[in-house]
């Protein structure tokens, strides 16, 4: 056996006097974390696997920290990624009236909505895809500004989607990205119960570009919604709040978390910490702040994903079964594409729904991402995080930026946090003062 290259490890100082030095090892393949002594870790990294106790060796093999010596791990990961094409995913932009101000958003700012011809063409496109019987699941992400204004379009298309999912016996799930400032409970009721949209990603912006912060409106709406409906335990986390931390002060971020904690929303709300996509996002800077906010949110009882899971496709851009649709019926492989250069757009546009078939699917530049990685054309070729990031943001790589996710720069901290969380069950228990 050999030590897998797809591991992350860090020293663990448990704080107990006289305790042997220990190390946490995380397998990016099995997503299992183990703690071993430093001496065992020393044997592992130096190839002295036979000096490791047989029982521990077997366990490490079981969780893919030790792998057969002849295994080409990169090929195994990429082959595994290539198998997952039984999901049909649509990223649907129904309007261009979001006031969040994130520059990468396809709709930009405007008062347009998806018209009937595009809606009808989209329904036909969806049926064509599902009737091919290639897919076992159908996922929709609604990218919406004002959900009230777009409700008729969303309801109409949702009815069609649910009908098609039943007809072709595929699992249907739907989520929404929206401006939470307009997500009133009456609108939510229709979206959640009739349109089957069970998860909401709401971006909070601290203001700027001449617009005030929407935080207080969003928080008010979310609390109102959570107090108004009898959610089932199995409905789990409903709201993911993305806080663009470069638009808020540290105190303001903490205040947002505190307000939602005080309203006892910990079972239904989680957080994602990011930065506005203004071309100057620095993942390393984000990583530094992110881990502090993650820890704070967990201490307030919120549930946050700490360690990334095995990712078979980085995003829709590289997923052959996915497409983003804009108001004009253009099909893109990436929702942020319209903000890119003309050359990148041209290489990755799939077609236009109003112009009919055929649509490009497999031969766009981004869709060949796995081959590019396999050929060593990217840093991902040697990166130990590939199984859990899938190669990151393909668009950023194309634009000459690093496409690595923020967790690349704080994985060791995340390992420690995960270990502490498991030991103390921080986000399972809330001990009131």
């Amino acid at each position: 056996m050999k030590l897998s290259k797809y591991i992350i490890s860090t020293s663990l100082n448990d704080g107990e006097e006289g305790a042997d030095a220990q190390r946490i090892i995380y397998s990016c393949i099995s997503n299992v974390t183990v703690v071993v002594s430093e001496s065992i870790f020393h044997h592992l990294v130096n190839g002295c696997i036979d000096r490791v106790d047989n029982g521990i060796r077997k366990e490490l093999e079981h969780v893919s920290i030790l792998v057969p010596p002849e295994r080409d791990e990169l090929a195994a990961i990429l082959d595994g990624n290539d198998l997952y094409h039984d999901n049909f995913s649509l990223f649907i932009n129904t309007s261009a009236a979001c006031r969040s101000g994130c520059n990468s958003c396809t709709p930009k700012q405007g008062n347009e909505s998806m018209g009937d011809p595009v809606r009808e063409a989209l329904a036909h496109y969806t049926e064509n895809q599902l009737s091919s019987e290639k897919y076992k699941a159908f996922n929709v992400i609604w990218n919406v500004g004002d959900p009230a204004r777009d409700l008729p379009a969303i309801a109409h298309l949702s009815d069609s989607n649910c009908m098609l999912a039943d007809r072709y016996a595929v699992l249907y799930t739907a989520a929404m990205i929206c401006d939470g400032a307009y997500l009133h409970k009456e609108i939510f009721e229709t979206l959640f119960y009739r349109c089957n949209i069970k998860n909401y990603h709401v971006a909070l912006d601290g203001g700027g570009n001449g617009q005030p912060s929407n935080a207080h409106l969003v928080i008010g709406n979310i609390v109102d919604i959570l107090n108004s409906f009898p959610f089932l335990p199995q409905e789990g986390i409903i709201f993911e709040i993305r806080i663009n931390i470069n638009t808020f002060s540290q105190e303001a971020v903490v205040d947002i978390i505190d307000k939602l904690a005080a309203a006892h929303t910990q079972n239904r709300v989680t957080f994602q910490f990011g930065m506005t996509e203004d071309g100057q996002t620095d993942a390393e800077v984000l990583a530094e702040y992110e881990i502090e906010y993650v820890l704070y949110a967990i201490q307030q009882g919120f549930i946050l994903g700490i360690l990334p899971a095995r990712t078979f496709t980085a995003c829709a851009a590289v997923d052959k079964g996915a497409a983003a649709v804009d108001l004009q019926g253009n099909l893109f492989s990436c929702n942020a594409l319209p903000a890119a250069t003309a050359a990148i757009i041209g290489a990755n546009t799939l077609g236009n729904l109003l112009e009919g078939q055929p649509f490009r699917s497999h031969d766009t530049q981004f869709r060949n991402w796995l081959h590019e990685i396999k050929n060593g054309d990217t840093d991902c070729y040697t990166c130990n995080l590939l199984p859990v990031c899938g190669g990151g943001c393909r668009l950023k790589w194309a634009e000459g930026q690093s496409g690595c996710p923020a967790f690349k720069y704080n994985m060791e901290d995340r390992l420690i946090l995960s270990y502490l969380n498991q030991k103390t069950r921080m986000n399972e228990l809330i001990i009131e003062a």
């Binding site: 974390t33 071993v36 065992i40 335990p233 199995q234 700490i306 995960s418 228990l429 001990i431």
Partner: protein
Amino acid sequence: MLIFIQIAAYRDFLLGSTLRDLLEKAGRPDNLRITICHQYHPDDVFNAELDVYRADSRFNIIDVPYNESGGLCWARNLIQQQYKGEEYTLQVDSHMRFIRNWDTVLIDMLLSLQQQGYPKPVLTTYPPHFDPAGFEYKDVPPNQIVFREFDRSGVFPIGWPAQIPDWETLTGPVPARFLAGGFTFSIGAFCQEILDDPHLYFMGEEINLAVRAYTHGYDLFHPHINITWHYYSRRESPKHWDDHAATEAVEIHAMDRLRKFFESGQHSSYYDWGVYGLGNVRSLSDYEHYAGILLCKKQVQQYTLKHLPPPNPHVYHTQEEWQESFCCCVNNVLRIPRRVFVKDDYDAATITFVANQQEVYQRSLDANDIAGMLHSQTDDCMLDISFSCSHLPDTWCLSLHSASGGWDRKVRGRMPYFVAGLGNFAIKKCHVL
């Protein structure tokens, strides 16, 4: 009178001994027609035990390499395709023991039910446990299947074995709500009318069969004497999900199908059920009245919770009154970290259960209850909880009182089924090796 015996075996070292016992204990072994879906691993040495039956005209052995198996429901469906018009059918697991003359006893029971006016009876139950290492044949009380709770994904009701009360006075089978996949005996036509749904995986198969059987005009009964024994747990045997990747995704699809199946009783959809849908002799609502279980609303009647035999009495003047007789049911074990109990003189506690921030149940604990919790040898203290309520709680809140310090700070935690549904948000176990 031939009996079509269906046995789906997955890498089971007890298959050979089960077949020997089946044949030795049969009153008329020549009337048995046994079809086995033998899902095997080439390295399993016990495979050879089947060789003695390969030339036996009573046996039809379908060999399937383990990696080609589609799971339990798939295997059972495959077996049912082999039905050739036998008068009776028995479906059992591959790890069983039988009473002497089990076949004639079952046939006599079925005939007596038909004489009582049940043309399509089904005899079924969760048999008592046996230990293969030291099994003694002796008379034991018969079991019934009682309602325990809805599963952690909140889709289907879970049945549990319990001794039939006053079984010594019984002279015939008792009506049943549930069906056991591991022991079902009926007329042969059952194999054609109630085919196992291959789109289900494992969980939920039995309630699906029970509802379909009932709506197709079958009547479910528990035998009033014990017929078989079943080996539960089986930790030493590999399961299908141990050998196959991505079974979690398969299970999610199966649960979606099961949920749609229950909803099909309330409204029509484009979902094509083929031969796997509801029957037209009785409705889903008829089953819900009979069993006292609302399959879509996940609620049960107190009569059902008390394990009283169906059909549930209908003493309601209106449909609304009948609906209001149902409640949610919690039957679980809370694991509360030991570190919460900071004092050693706790004498009382209250634990409150909350659904969407509304209290739905409260229980008081005395010093003995607390001592019982602390008695656990693990890092967690265990508390058995069982109650009915209007809404399923997502959170519990524990207040502890000590003689020395009065009331402690409150501790809030999440219900186990809520935590189980967190997916990638769940606390990842960190194994210390």
